[in-house]
């Protein structure tokens, strides 16, 4: 190893994901629903590398069908819980669910007591959010002292409204919840990222919902998302535990690719190996217009 090599110190660390009062070492937030068993869920959470998991507030079925409570399968010293208002269809119910979630987390002593994932649905088939009710609920929960992570559609106008009323993070959907369609409108996500970060580059935007497989997670990070929240793509994979690990790697890969900066797309090829000293003659005898100034050596 040369002296030059020894002095080269790569800087590969990343900043934490900061949302409200929370600093998360993993940029992946995972859901806890739809697993076959609690044991499978616990192992999947482990493989995701996440330090934040979201949970729902529900009445009636105090135990699951096997007599288990999810809180016996989540290490509360390790994970920050993010209570959500999933299943609420108006601002009033979402606010009640948020307050109930806060009360449970407060009595558990979990740091997640001060925030909530706000989800106010507007349509039971698409599970798309009701933008009006979401804005109303967000504003009131912010006034109540919550850090509000707001599930929304990929509409840039709604995203701006939510930030304006104090959302700690705006969380646009890649595609409908549980649909596995990935990022249907990357252009809208780009616009949301651009608008919300224009004068506030640290403002966290988290892509929430729609992920189908690992490459969707990478794509979200490559667009510039600060985090990704997903559930079904892991829980309903044929092998959830392996898919969870894939999601961890995809998040790291996508985030690193974003920080590293992709090369511009070119119409023509650009040789990675030197064009000088080639032992072969070229067909047709002339340089093409796209073959100028491409004598840099590289990995190809």
């Amino acid at each position: 190893m040369t002296a030059e090599n020894q002095s080269f110190q790569p800087k590969l660390s990343d900043s934490p994901l900061v949302v409200g009062n929370h600093r998360l070492s993993s940029r992946l937030i995972v859901g806890t629903g739809r697993y076959d068993t609690m044991e499978q869920m616990r192992a999947s959470l482990e493989q995701s590398g996440s330090d934040c998991v979201t949970v729902a507030v529900r009445r009636e079925r105090l135990y699951d069908r096997n007599g288990q409570n999810i809180l016996d399968f989540i290490d509360l010293d390790r994970y920050t819980l993010l209570p959500n208002t999933a299943g609420c269809y108006n601002a009033k119910d979402a606010i009640r669910a948020a307050k109930l979630g806060r009360e449970i987390l407060r009595t558990l002593g979990n740091p997640g007591a001060d925030w909530v994932k706000l989800e106010v649905l507007g349509d039971s088939r698409t599970l798309l959010p009701d933008p009006t009710e979401t804005v109303v609920a967000c504003e009131e929960l912010v006034a109540e002292g919550f850090g509000v992570l707001c599930y929304t559609s990929d509409c840039p106008v709604t995203a701006q409204r939510l930030k304006a009323v104090g959302a700690a993070s705006v969380m646009p959907a890649g595609s409908p919840i549980g649909s596995g369609q990935g990022l249907l409108n990357p252009n809208n996500l780009r616009i949301i990222l651009e608008y919300l970060k224009e004068d506030d580059p640290e403002y966290p935007v988290i892509v929430d919902a729609g992920v189908g497989t690992a490459s969707d997670v990478s794509a979200a990070f490559e667009l510039g998302a600060d985090g990704v929240l997903l559930n079904t793509a892991i829980a309903h994979a044929r092998d959830p535990i392996r898919m969870s690990r894939a999601m961890q790697y995809a998040a790291m890969a996508g985030r690193d690719a974003f920080l590293a900066g992709r090369i511009p797309r070119r119409l023509y090829g650009a040789a990675s190996s030197p064009s000088e000293g080639v032992i072969s003659s070229r067909p047709y005898g002339t340089l093409g217009k796209g073959d100028q100034g491409n004598s840099q050596s590289g990995e190809g």
Partner: protein, 67 residues
Amino acid sequence: MVEITVNGQAVNLPRPMTLEEVLKRVDVPPNYLAVEVNAEVIPREEHSSHSIGNGDELEVVTLVGGG
């Protein structure tokens, strides 16, 4: 007889009780629960002093898996 509603179901209590006494009928650790009485969250510290009377509507919730 005291008639109340718990999670949408009619429940009869033999006498007025504190919220804590009502919750003892639910077999879940108390710190897994949050309770609303008439749409207001009652903090756990107040369960032993909060009286439940005729017509009160209780919502007893816990956390479940979700995304």
